[in-house]
């Protein structure tokens, strides 16, 4: 049984050429692994492809609005959405609203992420921690956080505290789940090796377990930030006079389709920015990842 041989490319490690004996004595030559190679894509091509679909959607939207296929009461035209953005920008409300939402999200996500991270690590590294925390957290994870809104309203009222806590509550579950999985997935041999070097306790967690679980933690952060947008919409619909969620609610009250679409565009833009920020953090915090990914 001889597998197809591939000529190694320059610079690749020599593949195993040795045969191995099977039970019946046949000699088997192992295949030389094919080097996956570096698939460097042209940056321009990559960026063009990335933007192609959103731009095509935008063009279709513009054409459909111009030709009259789209009723402006159903979906405002790109032009009117841009005009709404300009109007809001000139009055200074756009920056105020973005700042207010950003502040709520930042505080809420920080609190939620801190709680989720601590619980996830405790549950991941200790059997007792898992027994104490995991069943409750799994139940908590199954509860849609929006179902807690009436309860949180009666506990905290409609003020800033409620909004921040709702966002924090939304961030705890994904942070916990991914951190727990990440910590559970840390190679036992690595931990044993670190222990051999005298690392234990907080230092072991901070210097070995956390960096190994970092891909999961960053994925959790990405999800927490996205989920926090949902929390923001829910929180800012109630009793506020500032924020993007408030703008959604205002545009509904005043039947302003252009502002409704503007809010959707703003959420999409925030989503892209979150993704970009996490990608940058990933690149900085995990430089080794770029060489070991599947492509």
């Amino acid at each position: 049984m001889t597998a197809t041989q591939h000529e190694p490319r320059a610079g690749t490690a020599p593949a195993a050429r040795t045969g191995a004996n099977t039970g019946d004595g046949d000699s088997v030559t192992l295949a030389r692994p094919r080097f996956l190679g570096r698939r460097d894509r042209s940056r321009t091509l990559s960026l063009s492809v990335r933007f192609a679909v959103p731009l095509a959607l935008l063009a279709t939207w513009q054409v459909a609005s111009s030709v009259g296929w789209l009723d402006p009461e159903i979906l405002a035209s790109p032009g009117s959405v841009v005009a709404a953005a300009e109007e809001l920008w000139e009055s200074g409300q756009l920056t105020d609203f973005l700042a207010a939402s950003g502040r709520r999200a930042a505080i809420g996500v920080t609190l939620g992420v801190a709680v989720g991270l601590v619980l996830g690590v405790l549950s991941g590294i200790s059997a007792l921690g898992e027994e104490l925390i995991d069943p409750t957290m799994q139940m908590y994870r199954a509860v849609p956080f929006l179902a807690l809104v009436p309860l949180l309203l009666s506990w905290f009222g409609v003020g800033e505290g409620f909004k921040i806590i709702l966002i924090a509550v939304s961030a705890v579950a994904p942070m916990y789940a991914y951190t727990y999985l990440g910590v559970r997935g840390v190679d036992r041999l690595v931990i044993e090796a670190a222990r051999g070097y005298g690392l234990s306790g907080v230092r072991l967690v901070a210097q070995v377990i956390m960096p190994s679980a970092l891909p999961n933690i960053l994925m959790a952060l990405r999800i927490c930030l996205s989920v926090s947008l949902t929390g923001l919409i829910a929180a800012e619909q109630i009793g506020t006079t500032t924020g993007i969620g408030y703008l959604v609610s205002l545009s509904q009250q005043y039947f302003r389709n252009d502002y409704m679409v503007l809010c959707i565009v703003l959420y999409a833009a925030i989503g892209v920015l979150i993704d970009l920020a996490i990608r940058i953090v990933e690149r900085l915090a995990m430089p080794w990842r770029s060489g070991v990914a599947a492509r």
Binding site: A114, S154, M210, S251, Q252, F255
Partner: protein, 339 residues
Amino acid sequence: MTSRLPRPRLRRLAAAVALAATAATLSACGSEDASAGSEGATVIKLVDPGNAGLLAYAKKTGVLEEKLEAADARVEWGGSYGSFTATIDAVRSGDVTVLEGAISPAIGYLSTSDDLKIFAVADRTKNPKAPVNDGLVVPKDSKVTSIDQLVGKKIAVNKGGRGEYLLELALDQAGIDPSEVEKVYLNPVQAAGAFQSGKVDAWWAIVRGYPTAVAAGAKTIVASTEVDDNDLTILAARKELVDENPEALKIIVDTLAELRKEGNAEPEKFQNVFTDSGPTATEGAALARDTEVDRYANPFRPVEDADLQTIQTVADYFSTHGFISKPVQASDAAVQLGS
């Protein structure tokens, strides 16, 4: 494959993050505490009045704050809510203690809670020059021309509020059993979308929904002026506020009544009070309409004996038509200030 950050740097980073989070949390709590205000004074918590109307003007000029000093009370302006019904959670949690609305949604609230009291009312204008406030509308391309053609059709209304109340009255007047139409319970915002996309055949449009629908070409089948309703515009307050400082509530009624006179004479200055741009700003036909609404609106007055009878009539209608599960007594629902 561990982090390359040296430990002191890592610690400093962690400390900085923790410090920033704590500071941000404290500042968030601080902003709430700062508005908790001077000791002893009664706090009147009002909703954000938006960009038009008496309360918006009062907020801008500070006239309420000024007058309420005499009753050792002060105003705290809160968040924005779409309607009386949307404000209910905030009323229950005590974040809003005085709010404006109509008898109909207040009765809906009072059938399940007894912590709210109607303390002032304003008659709806009968002036024929005043714009119509709400009505039963059908899409512009609908073949329906009268309410009896809506038998078996879907009609959107807000549950237990003014929309459902007026629709039932209109159906009663036309001799149609309410069970012969299919009521679809939607709040005005949801109903606007359903109506626009043709998911419902008609809609009893209220608040801003009616003028918006009419401006978009919808046809009015029944206007609210054609229905003999007993609804009044009201001001309601949480019970503990009524007990604690009725004098402050009397000042609110008097101040708003004075502002109404100003509003009737110069309605223009009560429009676009804070801003001429953004989603809350009105222009063109909408601005002209809102101006006319203010020109003909009636002032608030404290609840009188006759008003108790009106409230009872609406409450009984709600009860007999099954809008509410528990009857409401006007004497419990309203308070006569100074009596």
